[in-house]
Subunit: 380 residues, 2 copies
Amino acid sequence: MRLKCPICGKVYEEPVQRCECGEPVEFELLKGEPYIGKSVWERFYDFWPVEPALEFSLGEGDTPLVKSKLSEELGVRLYLKNETVNPTWSFKDRGTFLAMSYAPKAGYKAVGTVSTGNMAASVSAYASRFGLDAKILVSESASNEKLKAVSVYGGDVIRVKGDYGRLYFESLKLGESLGIYFINSDNPFRVEGYKGIAFEIVEEVTPDYVLIPTSSGGLFRGVAKGFIELKESGLIEELPTLVAVQAEGCSPICRAFEEGKERIERFENPKTIAKAIANPYPPSGNAVLKLMRDFGWLCAAVSDDEIVEAQKKLAGEGLFVQPASATGIAALKKLVESGVIPEGAKVVSILTGSGLKTLSHAEGGRIRECPLEGLENCLR
Amino acid sequence: MRLKCPICGKVYEEPVQRCECGEPVEFELLKGEPYIGKSVWERFYDFWPVEPALEFSLGEGDTPLVKSKLSEELGVRLYLKNETVNPTWSFKDRGTFLAMSYAPKAGYKAVGTVSTGNMAASVSAYASRFGLDAKILVSESASNEKLKAVSVYGGDVIRVKGDYGRLYFESLKLGESLGIYFINSDNPFRVEGYKGIAFEIVEEVTPDYVLIPTSSGGLFRGVAKGFIELKESGLIEELPTLVAVQAEGCSPICRAFEEGKERIERFENPKTIAKAIANPYPPSGNAVLKLMRDFGWLCAAVSDDEIVEAQKKLAGEGLFVQPASATGIAALKKLVESGVIPEGAKVVSILTGSGLKTLSHAEGGRIRECPLEGLENCLR
C-alpha cells in the first residue's frame, strides 16, 4: 500500500490518515480490468486498495442509473445516479464499507466518525454489522430526531461541546493514541469506496459531465479518482468534466476557485438548507481545487431557492432527495442556460441521500379533506 | 390475459379488479425461462402479464439478499431480503411499477390508491414518473408528518372522513365509473410485481422457509405465485414453506387459520406498533388462507415486544427497518424454539420497508454528552 499527498507529493508506505503537511493523502492510482460479478466490489476487484470484506456487505453500491424525464426540459441527456437506495440510504455506505474492510485487518476493534448526518448513521450501522465498537462524535447542535436514526444501530453516540471544526482533527489524533480508527469524511479508504460510482456509471453510459454535490470533498475526490483510473486502464477514452456543486450559503471551494486561489479559506457564517454539504472548511478543499485546476473542471454554487425548486423537480419524477442531493440539478439548469454545458450533452447527476432523512424540514404538498359520502365529487 | 378467482374459480378474459364473488382475482400461471439481463424485469421477462414499461423504471427490485449474522444465534442459515432499498424505500414499488405499466396502455390517465403509508408514497411517486394524475386516498387519522412523504411527489392527497374499510371497495367502484385505475393492496398487477422477490431469491439460494409480513395479503400472494411459477417452469424442484407473519394485535388471517376456518373475520380493535400490517379485514385474507391450506404452509403471530426486540436485532447488524418488517425475525425465533423450523434450515425473511418511515415512533439509543477538552476520557 502506497499513499501520496496530492498537494506536497510526500509518499507514505502505510495508510496514514493525513499528510504531515496537513492535507489528505490518497492511494496511488490502481489499474486493472473489469470482471463478471454481481457486485461492483467483484466486477472492479483490481481497483480496491484492500480486499472488500464481502461476508459483511449489506449490498451497498450497484445503485440504479435512472434516465431522467427532465432531459427534454433541460436540453441534455440526463441520468440520475440514485445513491438514496444504499443500505443506510446515502452514498456514504460505499466508503464506510471499504474503510471497515480495512480496520479489523489492521487490528482495530473500534471505529469512529465525526458527523451529524448520513455518515454518522452509516458508520454506526456498519460498525454493528462488522462487530466493531463505534464512537460517533456529533456536534452539540444535532437534533435528537436526527440522532435517533444514528443511535438506533447501537453505536456509542457522543454529543461533543466545543468547536466542531477542531473536532475533526482532534478525533484523528485521539483515535491514533486510543486505537480507534476514525473514518471521517475524507479518510483514504472511504474515498476509494466512492470510485464505484464512476465504475458503475461507465458500465451504462459515457458521460460528458458529472455533477457532484461537494462538501468535505471526499465524494468528489473519489469519483474523480475512479474516472482517472478507468482512463489510465484504457477502459474509457476521455475523462468527463466533473462539476463540484456547492450551496451559495456555504461555498468555500467555489469561492477560492473563482478567485484563482490555491487554498480555500473558512466560509464564515454558513447558511443553507443543504445541511449535508455545509462544511465551512472542507478538509479536502485544497485537493479538490487542485483537481479542478489540473483537469479544467468546474465549480458551481446554487441558492437555496434553486435547490428547493430542483428538489421539487426530482420529486416530480418519483425521486425524493435531501436538499443537498438536488444541488446538481439546480446547477445543471444554470450551466445549460449560460451555455457552459452544451445542448445534447450526456450528463450524470449524483443523488446523494434520501429525502426521508430531512423529512421534518421538507415542504409537503397540498392535502385535501373529503367525506366518504362526497368522494365522487372530490375525485372528479 | 386471463384471470381467475382463486376462491370460486370464475374466469375473466380482461383484468377486472375483483371477482363477482367479492374475492380477488389473479392471473393464470405464467411459465417460462430466465434470460440474461440487468433487471429482474428483463431476466424474468416471460413471467409478467404486461410488458414492463422500462423507460419509466426507477430501478425498483433487484434488492440485496443479505447473509444474516443472526444465523448462529438462531440456529438456521438466515438471509434477509432487503426491500428497504427500493426507490420509495419499500417493496410496494415492484407492484406499483408493474400496475403502472398497464394503466396507460388500458387508456387510463389517472391512477389512485387507498393507503396511508408505503403504498401511498409509492403510487404518488410512480404516478409522477409515468406522467399520470394520482388520487391518493388516506384515512382521517393519518399524521401530517406521514403524509408529507406522500404529498411531496405531487399527487392529489385526499384525507377521507368515514369508514376506512369501506373506502377500499368504494374506491374501486368510483374508479371504474370515473376512469381512475385504483392500484390498491391486492390489485392483480401489483401482486404479479411481487413475484420478482421469489425470482431474485432463487437466483441466490434455495430456501426451505420464507417469512412474509402479511397484512392485506397481496405480498404473500405475489411471493407464493412466484415460487409456484418457478416450480411449474421446472426452475426449482421443491416449493419452500411460506410463513405468513402477523402482529398478535391484528392477526385475522392467523386466527382464522388456527381455528380451521375458510373465511377470515374482521379483527376488532386492532392494536399494534406494526402499523404497516394492521389491516383488520384483509381483502386477500381468504385467498391467503386457501394457499396455506393447499400447500401446508404456516401462519405465525408475534407480540409488539417481540417485534421491538427483533427490530433491535436487525439494527444490530446494520439494517434499520420499520416494525412490520421485523415481524419475520420475531416469528423465526419462536418457530425455531418450538421446533417447527428445524435447525440448519435455509430461511429468508423479507424486510418490507425502511425504518426512516416510522422514525418518530422509533426508540433511539443512548446519547452521551462530552466537552471537547475531556474527549479523551469520554473515548476511553
